[in-house]
């Protein structure tokens, strides 16, 4: 009697295997019937497909690897001239940029690393679009400030800097920030230290006003990233990214024919 369930089980198992069996047998037969070369061909093509998929994934992920340094700043702060000086050392007359310019830059360090330097237009209506386009590729940002008229523009400068720092992509990638206080050849130019203090004060106020700003009409609120530490006054050292303030002069103290005083900027760029 005990064997009966066993036989039944076996019978059941056999029955279960049986429906698959003819299919398996048929498949085996078809495969055997085929030319071995054809089989190899199928296997190779499958392998190629798999490799391509893996390769594409690798390449696509490489694109988001930050390989560019952005030159950003307000209109007329000297970004395009700085771009020209860094790349070729020459003085060029410039006009308001309408589009971006990019070129590969060889850093002056032992490794000789080279990355792409991108000059973005600073005009208010073009700024957001271009920052949007290039922010994911940025490994560092050079924020150019016009030190001579800084006092009048401090609120605009701070707003743009706030917009950059609270952007979700930027706060995720954490590119290093170099604030280049340009136009030091003008006598009334403010020093980098003063500019840093003023910006910190301004960003403090902006934290309050920007978070109280109205949400957009389709419901999307502004950036919810809070800069610095809550409860304490804002300082650049509280930011997750590396921030550096330096002075430079794209025009150079000797006018158009002389060299530009961008040694400190080049040094910082070499450290990247």
């Amino acid at each position: 009697m005990a064997t009966e369930p066993g036989i039944n089980m076996e019978a059941k198992i056999d029955a279960r295997e049986n429906p698959f069996e003819p299919y398996l047998d048929a498949l085996k037969k078809v495969l055997e019937d085929q030319d071995p070369i054809f089989m190899i061909g199928i296997v190779v093509s499958l392998a190629v497909v798999v490799i391509t998929v893996v390769f594409l994934k690798y390449i696509l992920s490489r694109k988001t690897v930050q390989s560019a340094v952005l030159l950003v700043g307000l209109c007329d702060s000297g970004k395009t001239l700085l771009f020209s000086r860094l790349l070729s050392g020459k003085f060029k007359k410039t006009q308001t940029s309408i589009t971006d310019s990019s070129a590969p830059y060889k850093a002056k360090n032992e490794r000789g690393s080279s990355w792409i330097l991108i000059d973005l237009p600073g005009h208010d209506s073009l700024r957001p679009q271009y920052v949007e386009k290039f922010k994911s590729a940025a490994r560092a940002m050079v924020f150019v400030v016009d030190s001579a008229i800084f006092q009048k523009e401090v609120r605009d400068v701070a707003e743009f800097l706030y917009f950059l720092l609270t952007d979700s992509v930027v706060s995720r990638n954490v590119p290093s920030l170099i604030v280049a206080c340009n136009k030091q050849d003008i006598t009334m130019a403010k020093s980098a230290k003063l500019i840093r203090q003023q910006l910190e004060k301004e960003m403090n106020t902006l934290r309050v006003t920007r978070s109280a700003a109205l949400s957009a009409q389709d419901g999307s609120a502004g950036a919810s990233v809070h800069l610095g530490k809550k409860g304490k006054d804002f300082e650049f050292s509280q930011l997750p990214m590396k921030v550096e303030f330096l002075e430079c002069s794209a025009r150079g103290s000797k006018g158009e024919d002389g060299e530009a005083d961008i040694a400190s900027l080049e040094k910082s760029l070499a450290k990247l």
């Binding site: 395009t80 020209s84 060029k92 007359k93 006009q95 237009p121 209506s125 605009d156 957009a216």
Partner: protein
């Protein structure tokens, strides 16, 4: 005579420049102004721009991303400039093709463009060609064709009879009046009579009249009998002859003359010419060739079918540069689409022209169609228009004003019924939520119930934020002086009161007024000019269509005209109301920002206090471009 000529890349690097002799000022300022007001505001449909005393013309080269700008004094009218820019552009492109084709800015930075000689040569050519078409000297009478014709050939028999008859009659009268009339006067009378009769038919020119007079004078001197009286009995005699058989010039005794298959209508001209001037009338309209038009219409679809198929394939693969004809159908469709989305008609056409200028000559990549390129460019320009050109942060500005111990004054203006009072209440709610004290100035002294409406809002807002929370002082107060008073005076008093009582913000509500009501517009301009508010907001409803253009233009015009100072206070920002009533017909936002160049500061999306938003440019453009 040109002040300057620059060639620079769209990335901002000046490749080559030329400064005219004697010009000391730098051209960077005017060119920057050109870029900011024309190219960036999408007004590039019209390619000239004036800045102070200079007139600037420009041309965009979209294939190599270059801009060519020429500047000259506005008082000069140089006719060769347009063609000159085109020539320079072609020349420059051909010469520096290699450097320009390289991608990346390094080539532009490192190469030196020695374009001086070519430029001077082109300039010389252009100036010479304009001088060559100088005023032509008048031909002498003997050189003209008229002197070769005799007077008799120019007079048609029918009109001539009548004229001579009249002349004859008049001469008889003149004879009766007295022989004192000189022959010249008789001649004059006859010729003037002739003139009046022959007005339609011949139109004798001055020369012919002089000729006639001369002949008559000579005849009279000779003592020959006066022509007119001798001729006048003739027609009288001729009349009883009976009706002459009428001869139609085109009538044709034979059908051969009616066969126009060869001459195509020239036969008629030749016959009619004998009576008229030999020179063809320049104002003559050529006969519309109906058949050829039909023929063309019939042919083109066939061509189009084949061309269309190949064109599609051509368009997908390889680099094709965009031309005006390629973009035409797409732009027309986009224009209609924009107009369907409630963008004002002239704004839509200006936008499409500007996009066409920006894309002309651009080389498309593979697998991009003309439609996608044009749509992308249009989307970019729309986002660019909606982006504010200055910082928009009211709270920050209020804090700044507070630190300077003065109130921040906002004035609301607009036509009737757009929602000024409602949105004023919403904005004051937002401000008190952020801890600012608000004074509402009721400068609408005309509309029934305006002051009471504001008083109700004040009471409600105070109940929402009771004074106990803010140190015993009501956070919103109303400054009103009843009805019928002068609005500018009330505003001035309200601002002084706010300064004394240390209010943070003053919101000035004005009466709604139509833009062509001159006395009311003058009153509004006076209010704004006298009180110098920090922010002048124009309140416009999103439902408005083409009217938006008219409203904004006239409001700005009135504010500019009636202000005493050099820098008049114009509209600084726009409040777009009733945004919840339109689904995706958001075109009014585009019309308003395009016309004024000012940002949309607030968007009203409903009728409760919380329905106040800011503008998200991308979302609006997305809704606009959605099919």
């Amino acid at each position: 005579m040109l002040d300057f000529f620059t060639i620079f890349s769209k990335g901002g690097i000046v490749l080559w420049c030329f400064q005219g002799t004697g010009v000391t000022e730098s051209f960077t300022g005017p060119v920057n102004a050109l870029i900011r007001s024309v190219i960036l505001q999408e007004r590039s449909g019209n390619n000239s721009y004036s800045h102070d005393a200079l007139s600037l013309k420009y041309k965009l080269d979209n294939e190599f991303e270059l801009v060519f700008v020429v500047g000259f004094q506005k008082i000069l009218t140089l006719t060769y400039v347009d063609k000159f820019i085109d020539d320079v552009q072609l020349h420059f492109r051909d010469r520096y093709k290699n450097e320009l084709e390289q991608k990346g800015a390094l080539a532009l930075l490192n190469s030196h463009f020695a374009f001086e000689d070519d430029f001077k040569m082109l300039l010389r050519e252009a100036e010479e060609s304009s001088k060559a078409r100088g005023p032509t000297s008048m031909r002498s009478f003997n050189a003209s064709l008229k002197s070769q014709k005799t007077v008799k050939s120019m007079i048609e028999t029918k009109g001539g009879d009548k004229g001579k008859e009249q002349g004859g009659k008049k001469n008889k009268n003149a004879k009766k009046e007295g022989k004192a009339i000189t022959t010249r006067e008789k001649a004059k009378a006859s010729t003037s009579a002739q003139k009046t009769e022959e007005n339609g038919n011949q139109g004798l020119t001055q020369e012919e009249i002089i000729q006639k007079k001369r002949e008559e004078f000579i005849r009279k001197r000779m003592g020959a009998p006066v022509e007119k009286p001798s001729k006048s009995p003739k027609p009288v005699k001729e009349k009883p002859k009976g009706k002459e058989k009428r001869v139609w010039t085109l009538g044709g005794s034979s059908t051969k003359e009616l066969d126009y298959s060869q001459s195509n209508g020239n036969g008629a001209h030749a016959a009619g010419d004998q009576g008229l001037d030999a020179q063809a009338d320049p104002g003559d309209l050529l006969a519309v060739d109906y058949e050829s038009i039909l023929f063309k219409m019939f042919l083109s679809p066939k061509k189009g079918a084949f061309g269309g198929m190949f064109g599609m394939l051509k368009g997908l693969v390889g680099s094709k540069s965009l031309s005006q004809e390629d973009m035409e159908p797409v732009l027309d469709k986009m224009r209609d689409h924009l107009i369907a989305k409630n963008v004002a008609a002239e704004i839509a056409s200006q936008l499409c022209d500007s996009v066409a200028k920006k894309l002309e000559g651009k080389v498309m990549g593979t697998f991009t169609t003309v439609a996608s390129t044009v749509k992308g460019a249009l989307q970019d320009s729309l986002v660019q228009i909606l982006q504010p050109k200055r910082r928009v942060d009211i709270l920050r500005d209020v804090l700044e004003a507070r630190s300077q111990r003065r109130p921040f004054v906002i004035t609301f203006c607009g036509v009737n019924g757009v929602g000024k009072s409602t949105n004023l209440a919403k904005i004051s709610f937002w401000l008190i939520e952020n801890g600012f004290t608000v004074l509402i100035a009721a400068c609408d002294t005309f509309r029934a119930g305006a002051v009471e409406q504001l008083r109700t809002h004040q009471r409600r807002l105070n109940s929402l934020h009771p004074p106990q929370d803010h140190g015993g002082r009501p956070i919103v107060q109303l400054y009103e002086k009843g009805y019928g008073k002068d609005a500018a005076g009330i505003a001035m008093e309200a601002i002084a009161y706010a300064r004394n009582q240390a209010f943070d913000v003053v919101l000035v509500d004005t009466a709604g007024r139509m833009q062509d009501n001159t006395p009311l517009m003058t009153a509004l301009a006076k209010l704004i000019a006298v009180n110098m508010p920090d922010l002048v907001l124009f309140v416009g409803e999103a439902l408005v269509g083409n009217e938006a253009v008219d409203q904004l233009v006239k409001f700005n015009q009135a504010l500019a005209d009636h202000s005493m100072s050099d820098k008049p206070r114009l509209i600084d920002g726009i409040v777009l109301t009733k945004f919840d009533t339109i689904d995706d017909k958001v075109g009014a936002a585009i019309s308003m920002t395009y016309i004024t160049g000012q940002p949309i500061v607030f968007v009203g999306t409903g009728q409760t206090y919380n329905d106040l938003r800011s503008l998200n440019a991308r979302a609006v453009v997305g809704a606009l471009m959605k099919a």
